[in-house]
């Protein structure tokens, strides 16, 4: 339809009229290739959107029932990750602190703060606080914290500088490609076990050599079989 409307009919041609001018070829080519390009562009745009932080919710600080600040508790007070995330070394799930763990301190400190009312209410009533999940893997992905933490993968490798987050956000994209980057080359990300819970750890210049040594020492394998994560 686009083609037809663009065709100019020369009034001087009376017999054996050329319906299409010479330009029609170009237009047709342009249209066909343009259509293909538009489809390709749309697919590319779709792929970009799916991978964009809008979709993955990367770097989006998430509202919580209590405005809990890792920046204050970790960065400021220096509380160890494992004080609250109690099962991170023993289980697939790192665990969120039970209300009782909050109340260990907050029965004394900021005991009357209005911001902490949901915590006190939970403790009073026995009803749990429903925290918004920040790192939410799809249900068909089976991630295990304990093996990563025990094999020299630091918290900040995936969770970023939590000690600088007033409200927690997802620091990385959590796409499968991102998982595989590390699973294919664990030597690039591994650190000494003593540094796993160090938020400020920076990989040294000799990471290539150190990484190879640690991979060997910890018996780290490059696990890329589907069933390592999908069951």
């Amino acid at each position: 339809m686009v083609i037809c409307s663009l065709v100019r009919i020369d009034p001087r041609v009376v017999q054996m009229a050329q319906i299409f001018s010479g330009a029609a070829n170009t237009i047709a080519r342009f249209t066909l290739w343009g259509f293909a390009a538009a489809v390709g562009l749309a697919m590319w745009a779709g792929a970009m959107i799916v991978r964009s932080p809008y979709e993955t919710r990367q770097e989006e600080p998430r509202e919580q029932p209590v405005p809990f600040s890792h920046e204050h508790h970790v960065g400021g007070l220096g509380i160890d990750c494992r004080y609250c995330h109690t099962t991170v070394e023993t289980s697939s799930f790192a665990n969120l602190p039970a209300t009782k763990i909050c109340m260990n301190c907050h029965s004394q400190m900021w005991a009357a703060s209005p911001a902490l009312e949901p915590v006190r209410e939970s403790y009073r009533t026995g009803r749990s606080i429903a925290w918004t999940r920040v790192y939410d893997l799809p249900d068909f992905v089976y991630f295990n914290h304990s093996v990563h933490v025990n094999k020299g993968i630091g918290c900040s490798e995936c969770h970023g500088r939590v000690d600088k987050m007033p409200l927690t956000w997802q620091a990385v994209s959590l796409e499968m490609q991102w998982c595989l980057d590390c699973h294919r080359h664990p030597e690039e990300r591994v650190r000494p076990q003593s540094e796993v819970f160090n938020m400020a750890y920076v990989h040294p210049r000799n990471q290539a050599a150190l990484g190879r040594r640690l991979v060997h020492e910890y018996g780290i394998q490059s696990l890329t079989s589907c069933s390592n994560c999908h069951r």
């Binding site: 023993t90 939410d136 068909f140 069951r231």
Partner: protein, 988 residues
Amino acid sequence: MSAPANFVPVSALRPAPEAADRRYWRTLEEYEGRAPGGDEPRQAIDEPPPSEESRRKFLSLMAASFGLSGLTGCTRQPTEFIVPYVDPPEQVIPGRPQFFATAIPLNGLAQGVLVESHLGRPTKVEGNPDHPASLGATDVTSQASLMDLYDPDRAREITLHGDPRSWEAFLRALLVALEPVRARKGEGLRILTETVTSPSLGDRIQAVLAALPSARWHQWGPAGCHSARSGSVLAFGRPVNTYYRLDNADVIVALDSDFLCCGPASTRYARDYSTRRRRGGRVDMNRLYAIESAMTATGGKADHRLPVRYAEVETFAVELAQAVAGQSVAGSHFGQWTSAVARDLLAHSGSCAVIPGEHQSPAVHALAHQINAALGAVGQTVVYTEPLEVRAEDQMASLTDLVRDLDAGTVEVLLILGGNPVYNAPADLDFAHKLPRTAFSAHVALHADETSAQCQWHLPESHFLEDWGDARAFDGTVSIIQPLILPLYESHSYLRILDAILTLPGRSAYEIVREYWTKQKHGADFETWWRKSLHDGFMEASALADIRPALKAANAPSLPPPSSPGALEVVFRPDPYIFDGRFANNIWLEELPRPMTKLTWDNAVMISPATAKRLGIEAQELVELRRGGRSVRGSTWIQPGHPDGSITVHLGFGRTRSGRAGNGAGFSAYLIRTVDALWSAYDLEIHKTGDSYPLASTQMQQWVEGHHPIISGNLDEYRANPNFVKESQETPPRELTIYPHWDYSGYAWGMSIDLTACVNCGACVAACQAENNIAVVGKEQILARRGMHWLRIDTYYQGGDVNPSAYYQPVPCMQCENAPCEYVCPVHATAHSADGLNDMTYNRCVGTRYCSNNCPYKVRRFNFFLFQDWVTDTLKLQRNPDVSVRSRGVMEKCTYCVQRIREAEIHARVDDRFVRDGEIQTACMQACPTQAIVFGDINNLSNRVAQLKSEKLNYALLAELNTRPRTTYLAELRNPNPELGEVSHARG
């Protein structure tokens, strides 16, 4: 649709037929050469092509859905929440399951189990390795008992005539009704229970009877050990409990007993039997004779099997008793059978056992006691103890008394604690019409069933995973029944209701059970003992002591009057899975293929091929069974190996108020079961109705087309040539494959399945279903060959259709190293793992089904519809959180329980060690009573699985295809008696 000119029929591709006597077959059609390999190919060709209209519509819908499917990628992740504990309980680590020991009571008898709990949700039942009835394995009903807990059709509230009431209202009404009864010292109060072995429940009932001495307690279990009880009274003058130590038995004679698959001790018997069978590196085997009135899994497994009519079993027992006593049995009804079996038994005096079937006549039980005593088996292979029941009584007489008093109007208050007598009492008692004649009646049960409908009050019963109790196992060992979850609904235990009669202050079931045991166990260390008993799942040294009851002066056994050969015999048996009907609404059990018939969702009128021909009855024809004015209609199943002139029907089906799954499934054989014919009758008339009724059997499904899946031989053959298995195998060169070479240097997971040990009980299939969140599809879909069980047990017959021997082969995914399914997947949804598993990534699957098409073993299952229930809350509670719940359009299959492998690998890695042998148990391996399935790392030669694979009996299924499967089989060995030689396949 006509076939093209160059069409090659599938049958032409099949190898040449084998010699007739060694041929394996699955169906009668195949045996008779009518439609080899089931009717699968024929059905596909006969199906009419879809009309043009629907094809066009299909294409346009596909185009639209393809276009729209891209849009689903544009949804943002929904916000989810984490809800931590307020005050975390001790020892709970989120993400890691806990295990608690408890016991499952079935018909009063306990099976010790460990139950897996994820954050307070029981998700899986496993065997308790220390419990004598389990030894780490489970039976089918234990595995499926979870589905009873989460059954959405369970009764949820106390009702009076169907209207909801409170517990307090019930208590008030009960006390008002009891007032006049109390004044008469309990006269008019009746309590009806099932068989009670629970010490604390027995104590509570006795307490009621002590307070109200004129009250009466009745027991009724429709499929209980009536004959065993009466049989021991015949033999010893009093009721005695009998069990067997088959690990000491070299020769076993089953007199119509399916001891390997059915009964409360079958798990233990199967283990002991198979241990003895594989003794000494397979140079020495036990021998099993089965004389039976139906084709059972035990009979199919036997080295010699003799199909006889129910009544003839007694004749055989009489003859055997005579022969064992040294009398001549010339002119025996069973040819050389009696003398050959007797000679074999006598040669193994003290290490042999004769096991009578629970549904055989009391006389057969008495004769078995006599034979066992004559053979010196008592104390060796046959053990007697005091009865397990709190009160061993003739339950038929007990129920008859109750009905007589109901009739006379002398029953004022009737409490029915469990059971379903309206459905399962003998038809001539007419219990349903007599029950409403009481002034006050209450029924306590899991479901508001047929009996509840006839009672005024209905109280939901607590499932054994919801409340405390105790029970005895087959040898008397007591287990505390420990709950894992608070009652899901407003349910109560029997103990509390009995306390209410005594107007005791409201104690919990826990307090009642604990208080009872406090009184039994004096001493300061009660707490230690109690905690240990709870932890272990049973009380130490609580098995009943062996006794040696004296045989009454043995009357000279006389032959029972031979039944008239023309009359048709009917035999009633409990269903192997739904038992007496109590599990009728358990969808896992309904859909689990029955051991020999592979029937699902129905029972059938079992009939032999010859009798069917004589009566002119076709398979799956609706017939009417009539007995003295009573009748029921059922569909026929022609069963190879069934004795002629006899019909077997299974009890438990035809429920009307069991719930959505059980209602209308099958027919109720109780309708023609009467007081004088509890197990068999000889006055059956069978009438054709002209209708047919399809039965959903999986026997013809997932057919490994035209190959030789079973390899078997006799012990003597094996001794003469141990390489006979290898010689019959064709193994192509390793490099003959399009796959690149892969070096399995780390773990290499593999499985070995011993066909000699498999007894076709189905526990592995049930365990697999529970572990892997496998959906139930329903009868229609089974008929359409869309069953979802990842693991199937193929049943093959060999020999004639009169008395074939049977072979069982569990078939999970073979995890081929050269997997044919992998290279046809267009999206890499199925791919190989580094340790040799054939991974299936559900979220990647687009449902082309190419993989299933290319699988020579037919082990892949496709979700044609949304088979999973994504809506019902209670079913969500059951699911294993470590396994994805699959949706519509996704292929699924066995992956050796990869969630368990990866979990164990992670634990080993964290501890800096290798996975130990036996640390990973697949669900099927764990459940298997005979330890036929062994899983492990085949690269490590110290592992059991690697050793089994190096045995000479090891062979791969369809090895000629060079798929290099990781699952391999050990060929079946049988140990026939040379004296009976040829008789094993045909009636002598």
